[in-house]
């Protein structure tokens, strides 16, 4: 069973079928579809997942002076093994109000060339002192 440790099983997530697809890795970063997929999309997914799995990363970071954390994400998927590192990098970023959606928080996360961007608008509309000290009434 020389080749069996090169066979990897990948659960396809392209549709609810959840096919378990077998893929043979060639040991140098490539892979070949073996069996188990019900469609072409499944074959492609499994090979990609076995050779270069990628994930979107989303987390939140604290912004000084803002009670609500800022939600952020990688603009594109990054290599799966960098997910936790990306979260750590995001948490270390220094951010000041105001922040707008799409604003770059970390320009190049873990050398991937992918930026981490804000996914929420946060401004300074936080009143000071106790609740509703200056509850304002406005009309749209």
């Amino acid at each position: 069973m020389q080749g069996s440790d090169r066979i990897r099983e990948v659960t396809c997530i392209r549709c609810p079928m959840g096919c378990v697809v077998a893929v043979e890795c060639d040991g140098s970063g490539g892979a070949r579809y073996v069996q188990g997929a019900s469609c072409v999309r499944g074959r492609e997914y499994a090979v990609a997942e076995a050779t270069a799995p990628e994930r979107m990363v989303a987390t939140v970071i604290d912004v000084p002076g803002c009670p609500e954390p800022l939600s952020v994400k990688t603009e594109r998927p990054i290599p799966k093994h960098l997910v936790q590192d990306a979260v750590c990098m995001a948490k270390q970023a220094a951010v000041a109000l105001p922040v707008h959606i799409g604003q770059v928080i970390v320009p190049n996360v873990c050398g991937t060339g992918v930026p981490i961007v804000a996914t929420k608008n946060l401004d300074q509309s936080f009143a000071s002192s106790r609740a509703f000290a200056d509850a304002t009434t406005s009309e749209k």
């Binding site: 997530i13 609500e68 929420k120 608008n121 000071s128 749209k140």
Partner: protein, 930 residues
């Protein structure tokens, strides 16, 4: 504590249960200084807390006992005490029901005992009258005793009323003051020296022992006439308020050789409960319920109420009764310890007796100390009125005085920030979230605090100047949050507060809820020419999308993968150019239908509260997009104690994503719903350890994508056919017990139990459409969806009321909720423009084999097209979906579609086009595996 000659004598009361609080209050009638020493961190944290809440008429105790004496006197004092102290008390009458002829003599015996005890207002009724009085009674009823002075009360409320009254009259309350030693005065006289565990010493001229389950230990520190108390566990099951009206009276069973029987009773909060059993135990701390105990009380309760089951259950809990050796109370001065008074061995009917015991003890103490009456004693405690009790004028005034009263924090129970802040600054300190819950009623509703607990944690921190890590749920050590940001307290003072009052008093369409469905509905209605108002209780648009920071939204609607906040922003941005008035931070607390509907006038009136004030807005159509709430722990019938650390996935998500707090360190997830899976990943990324996910069904309830990317990626195991059967931990959760589940019976398999250490249990066990407003409007609901029944225009059974999104039925994707909002908003605008009017004939859509639910439930016969949305009830490979027209028992296949697979986690859609629906009586939707 050196005291001068002229100082008033000091009395120490040990224990702040209902008896201790009542005694403290009565002592204030005399010129003494009162100090109450309580081991716990709140009033009523022992036997008083988990109690039936019955004020017994007094026919049950053996004549001649102290129990008979004090019950009769106490019960008579209750109405006056309720008036003076402002606690909930309701004379709902007690009934003792006989369900066999053998039990009938027992009723006569009780009548005789009652007469001997001086109880009035008792009568025997026959089976017909009993059944007429209580229609939910078992038809086995043979006869009953009815006692008109039987009543129910809120035991915490009695304690709080008495304690606050005492505090206002000068009594001091010391919490976390567990008494460990008492030096009695020597032969030369002098004072008692009472030492607490924390090293505090209190000197007192007289001591009252009201230490509940520990009263034997306190007595034995001082007196050689030793007492012994056996803790007797009593377990209870509490049902939702909807069931509170099943019984008006407290119904007892006839005491017999098999025990006293369990009772079925409404509570003053409007719920129904069954219980208790009576299980003697060693431990004075273990308040865990047991599977056997819960099973026993349901089975026993069925004699009275045959429908008793786990359905509608919102929690179970256990209390300990302090049962003395003689079975009677021990009340009075210890024979060998002058000025040391016992109110000990107070089990049932202790609550009923408390006011009378308090009067006697206070008088004896005063006599022993030679204390005169206190002329300035004020017996009245002015209770703060709750927002939920106020009429609209009072509410308006309260909000005007303090805008915080317009910020509804607990939506279920309508509790405002103003009340929470006021309770936090009351004379009796609030040292736990449960104390706050009992004092202002927040977190008591059907969501069990799922929505409001994170908000309340923030308010508590801000008001008391503490960190979230310092907050306990109910006892010292029952922490809520493991970690928070360093500047939490600082930023908690900076909460966002945009709130607007409605620009006008009248709109065409009012949309309630600004989540995915609500925003879409508001825009669609405005685009169709309607003047639209959108109201949401949250700050910022988007509803639950705002806390869903993960990506996976928008693929259907925007052909782009977005995070929740981005999706909300995208929807909100498109709103700016439309004629939509938006009220954020505003709660719709009432909705009524106007008579003018038929004339095409303003049909509905919404009562809206916000920090800006109260407003009534009229509109011609309402779109309800009120979302859903999470099924809570209480509904799961899990045995054990009630530690902190049990969160719904949504609450954990709010804490982490909107407040930057970590709920714990090591978590187990129960239920494989999508939010649970998403949270397993979020918690892992935030540094928590997620031990595993347990799913009671043989298949996951969440999407495959989430199983792979949230669990597999992080090596988090998913255990199918597995559930939590018991939780462990008297303060914070310490472990859960999981068991394999038999798929036939859905019951845990004996012997498969396993203990998993964890400090956090995250629940993802289903969402329940939130439809309080729909119900207030009399909208017909579908038990299989939990939401209103609608037609293909998303109109409910009440003309002019539309429903969409998760309040209609639970969606797998926000995109579909938005699509529904589009349709509902458009329909509402068209309906208004058409001036309401008669609706065409409709036929019903019914669920067939393998279909869990289907929406819409009606189709107009002239509908040109309709989308049927449904979920299959089991995993189907090579699935076939069919819509079948039914007419006079014949079937006609109208539409058929195949799919490789169908899973309950994903909604299935089937469209009908160009079919003459008038030809059929109904449409059935089915699914099967090929």
């Amino acid at each position: 504590m050196a005291r001068g000659e002229t100082a008033k004598p000091r009395v120490a009361v040990i224990g702040a249960g209902v008896v201790g609080c009542c005694i403290a209050r009565e002592l204030c009638r005399f010129n003494v200084e009162v100090s109450v020493l309580e081991a716990g961190d709140d009033l009523a944290c022992g036997s008083t807390r988990a109690n039936s809440g019955i004020v017994h008429a007094g026919f049950d105790p053996q004549p001649g006992t102290l129990k008979a004496l004090y019950n009769a006197r106490g019960s008579k004092l209750f109405p006056q005490w309720a008036d003076e102290l402002g606690f909930a008390y309701f004379r709902n009458e007690s009934m003792v029901a006989a369900f066999s002829d053998d039990e009938l003599p027992g009723l006569d015996e009780l009548i005789e005992r009652g007469k001997a005890n001086g109880i009035e207002g008792m009568r025997l009724v026959g089976p017909e009258e009993a059944k007429a009085l209580e229609p939910a009674l078992s038809s086995d009823i043979r006869g009953a005793l009815v006692a008109s002075t039987g009543a129910i009360c809120d035991p915490y409320g009695v304690s709080l009323g008495a304690a606050e009254n005492a505090a206002n009259n000068g009594a001091e309350f010391l919490f976390d003051a567990k008494v460990v030693a008492i030096d009695a005065p020597g032969a030369m006289g002098g004072a008692f020296r009472i030492a607490t565990e924390s090293g505090m010493v209190v000197e007192a001229d007289a001591v009252v022992n009201a230490a509940g389950i520990h009263a034997d230990e306190i007595n034995n520190l001082v007196s050689s006439h030793h007492l012994g108390i056996t803790p007797v566990r009593g377990e209870y099951i509490l049902y939702e308020p909807a069931m509170g009206k099943l019984f008006r009276r407290t119904v007892f069973q006839v005491p017999g050789p098999m025990g006293k029987g369990v009772l079925v009773s409404p509570t003053v909060h409007g719920n129904l409960f069954v219980g208790p059993n009576a299980v003697p135990q060693e431990s004075k701390e273990d308040l865990g319920t047991s599977e056997e105990g819960l099973d026993f009380i349901v089975r026993q309760a069925r004699r009275t109420w045959p429908e008793a089951s786990n359905r509608g259950q919102i929690t179970n809990f256990a209390g300990l009764r302090a049962s003395g050796k003689t079975r009677d109370f021990v009340v009075g001065e210890a024979p060998d310890a002058p000025r040391f008074f016992n109110a000990a061995c107070i089990d049932s009917p202790g609550l009923s007796s408390a006011p009378a015991i308090a009067q006697d003890i206070a008088r004896w103490v005063a006599d022993a100390l030679g204390a005169s009456e206190n002329p300035s004693f004020d017996p009245i405690r002015k209770r703060r009125r709750l927002l939920a009790e106020m009429d609209s004028k009072e509410v308006a005034e309260a909000v005007k005085r303090d805008p915080a009263w317009g910020n509804i924090v607990c939506s279920c129970c309508k509790v405002s920030e103003g009340e929470i802040v006021a309770a936090l600054h009351d004379p009796l300190p609030v040292l736990s979230l449960d104390a706050l819950k009992w004092r202002c009623g927040a977190m008591m509703g059907p969501c069990h605090g799922g929505f409001c607990t994170p908000k309340i944690i923030r308010i508590v921190c801000r008001e008391l100047g503490c960190a979230p890590e310092d907050i306990d749920k109910r006892l010292r050590g029952s922490w809520m949050v493991a970690r928070s940001r360093a500047d939490y307290l600082e930023v908690s003072r900076l909460d966002a507060r945009g709130c607007m009052s409605a620009a006008q008093d009248t709109y065409d369409v009012a949309v309630v809820g600004a989540g995915a469905a609500g925003m879409a509905a508001a825009k669609a209605a405005a685009r169709a020419g309607a003047r639209v108002l959108m109201v949401d209780r949250g700050q910022g648009l988007g509803g639950i999308l705002r806390q869903c920071v993960h990506s996976g939204f928008g693929l259907e609607r925007f052909s782009e993968e977005l995070t929740g906040p981005e999706y909300a922003e995208r929807e909100g941005a498109a709103m700016a150019d439309l004629d939509i008035a938006v009220m954020e931070g505003s709660s719709v607390v009432g909705v009524t239908q106007d008579g003018a509907a038929a004339d095409g006038g303003s049909a509905f009136k919404l009562d809206i509260i916000s920090p800006a004030g109260c407003q009534s807005v009229a509109c011609r159509a309402v779109v309800l997009a009120t979302g859903s709430r999470e099924r809570g722990f209480g509904a799961l019938n899990v045995a054990g104690e009630r530690p902190s650390g049990i969160y719904t996935a949504g609450s954990a998500q709010t804490l982490i994503n909107l407040q930057g707090c970590l709920p714990g360190k090591r978590a187990v997830v129960l239920g494989s719903g999508d939010i649970g899976l998403i949270m397993a990943r979020r918690m892992t990324l935030e540094g928590m350890e997620v031990v595993g996910v347990h799913e009671i069904m043989p298949h996951p309830s969440g999407l495959r994508r989430n199983i792979v990317q949230c669990l597999d990626d992080f090596d988090i195991p998913l255990h199918l056919s597995s559930t939590v059967v018991r939780v462990e931990g008297s303060t914070r959760l310490e472990a859960v017990w999981v068991a394999q589940v038999d798929q036939q019976t859905r019951l845990p398999i004996e012997g498969s139990e396993q203990r998993i250490e964890c400090d956090t249990l995250v629940l993802s066990v289903g969402l329940i459409p939130e439809n309080d407003l729909a119900k207030a409007l009399g909208v017909q609901c579908d038990p299989s969806t939990g939401g209103p029944k609608v037609d293909e225009t998303f109109q409910t059974s009440v003309p002019g009321v539309f429903s969409c999104g998760n309040s209609l039925h639970i969606h797998d994707l926000a995109d579909w909720a938005s699509a529904e909002g589009d349709a509902a908003g458009t329909s509402a605008a068209h309906w208004v423009r058409a001036g309401g009017g008669e609706r065409p004939t409709s036929i019903s859509v019914v669920k067939g084999v393998c279909v869990g639910h289907v929406v819409p439930q009606w189709l107009y016969v002239d509908a040109s097209e309709a989308n049927l949305e449904f979920r299959v009830s089991a995993v189907l490979h090579d699935a076939v979906f069919e819509a079948v027209g039914m007419k006079d028992g014949r079937e006609e296949l109208l539409r058929k579609r195949r799919a490789r697979i169908a899973v309950p986690a994903e909604m299935v859609r089937l469209s009908l086009k160009g079919i003459d629906l008038a030809k059929y009586d109904s449409i059935e939707v089915r699914a099967h595996a090929r």
